[in-house]
Amino acid sequence: MAENTLEVSGLTKRFGKVLAVDHITFAVQAGEIVGLLGPNGAGKTTTINMLLGLIKPSAGSIFVFGKDLQKARRGILERVGFSSAYTSMQSRLSVWENLLVFGHYYGLPRPQEKIRGLLSEFAMDGLGQRLYGALSSGQRTRINLVRALLHDPQLLLLDEPTASLDPDIASRVRQFLFSIRDKRKISMLYTSHNMEEVAQMCDRIIFLHHGRIVANDTPLALTKTIELSVLSLRFDGSPQAAQKIVAEKGSLLEIRPPNILTAEVSTDRIGELLTAFAKSGITLIEVDITNPDLEDVFLKFARKGQDEPDPH
């Protein structure tokens, strides 16, 4: 069995009457990339802040590299990198100065070589002397990542690591994260609102809602929990007859001229529906099937939560 980099057990955080995180238990193995998803207020940020030791848990335990975070926080943080799109660095310091300062905070007496290498890796060689405050948000996001990687961490806590990046740079960043994961078996806990990216990056996804874990599985397995696909058809024939077939096999979402129909159909009944059209004599000109993705999973859990009262 693979060694766990991070083990969280019964982790709970209560702020007065508000239960922000409710007895969550999960682990991240060495080299594993785990997505931490959930709607706003689900408890993601509080969880990450507890993993950094910035918030003290009300109950439960956090073990990182086999050590208790409450007892060995500083030693653990020497091997943990954190990057968030929602934090900044000193705006009046240059990029180089900021990174040099953080190199010292991580206990590296001569981080210059490392900084040069990482700036080059993230296509930012020419920006070292630029003031941090003069950077675009995409450039800041990349510099935040460089900062988090300065000390060759073994666990990365990444909060929206590719926010504000253009697709080309975002892809480059993802490739880099994959490469360091493969080379050094770095574990990552990853939050993002970009579901496509999460599906691409993460080996496993933990969904949080109202502070609880409501799902913990691979992206594929989670996607399979959504049974409905969206079918879009352009046809030649009677709209009434087409509507009748759809009503028998699924549910009609929309029908608009010229004979375009959108319906929600159980994934395993799509074949039946298309056969029924063929038998009815309606000619299908165009068929488009949209299979469920992680965004549908996210919406399912988020909406489920909206329908249910907050247990706290």
Binding site: R74, L77, R147
Partner: protein, 264 residues
């Protein structure tokens, strides 16, 4: 305490000093203006009463030494605020940097800056009013040290309060220490205060130092008793400040105030 991390704190704020007009103003401009305005005013009033030299020395001596308390305390507390204003506070404490390493860095930085401030202002005082701070002799060293120790205690407590209670009390960083100013009897003998306040004032190390300063400038010899009291009180206050800061920082971790600072 890791010296590399403390060096990081010093570097961060020294780099900032180079590019911050506000910081340069605080370090050099305000103390210079204070000296000029108070010096001129005292010259005028003292000229009216005919006791010019003595009053000028008391006032300028008080002004120079009060700068030690004010600037050192402010440097400690504003260093934290600067990281909050720049939304850097979570980044900072997500590294192995401990709050005590952070404070040690800001304390060291405060020492560098106050030496620069004192160097400039003392030179100006000598040029403009022939006031030689070194007339105080070697006793200047324990005076300076005690004022700095008191500023450290105040800076540590104020920083802890801001961490615990958030940015709504950020003005404490540059205002709270002024509560100690009238009680420290910086510009006048302590006997000027009402009797009840005199009793309170004797619990401030600064009051002992400024009384001692006037004793030396008036040719009254080494103020051994004042220095002993100041030192004893400083040991007590520093120990209290350390305890109080630890408690406030821990409370901020429990109630989430530390991470809320990032969003304020």
């Amino acid at each position: 305490m890791n010296p590399t991390r403390i060096k990081g704190v010093i570097l961060e704020h020294l780099y900032h000093l180079r590019r911050s007009i506000e910081d340069i103003t605080d370090t050099f401009f305000w103390p210079t203006m204070d000296l000029i305005i108070w010096g001129l005013m005292t010259t005028y009033f003292a000229g009216l009463s005919g006791t010019l030299p003595q009053i000028i020395t008391f006032l300028i001596g008080g002004l120079l030494l009060w700068n030690v308390v004010w600037r050192v305390q402010q440097d400690i507390s504003i260093a934290l605020l600067r990281d909050v204003w720049n939304r850097n506070i979570i980044n900072l404490f997500s590294t192995p940097l401990s709050p005590w390493e952070f404070l040690a860095g800001t304390i060291f930085l405060g020492m560098i800056k106050i030496l620069l401030t004192m160097g400039l202002v003392s030179l100006l005082a000598w040029i403009l009013w022939a006031f030689d701070i070194f007339r105080l002799g070697l006793v200047l060293i324990p005076f300076f040290a005690n004022l700095m120790f008191f500023a450290w205690s105040a800076g540590i407590v104020i920083t802890g309060l801001i961490i615990r209670f958030g940015m709504r009390i950020q003005s404490f960083a540059w205002s709270l220490i002024l509560l100690a100013h009238p009680l420290s009897a910086v510009f006048y003998p302590l006997a000027t205060l009402p009797p009840a306040l005199q009793t309170v004032a004797w619990f401030l190390p600064t009051a002992h130092i400024f009384e001692g300063m006037r004793q030396v400038l008036a040719g009254g010899g080494l103020p051994g008793e004042h220095l002993a009291w100041a030192m004893a009180l400083n040991v007590f206050y520093l120990a209290g400040a350390v305890f109080f800061f630890n408690s406030l920082f821990e409370q901020a971790r429990v109630n989430g105030a530390l991470t809320r600072l990032a969003g304020e």
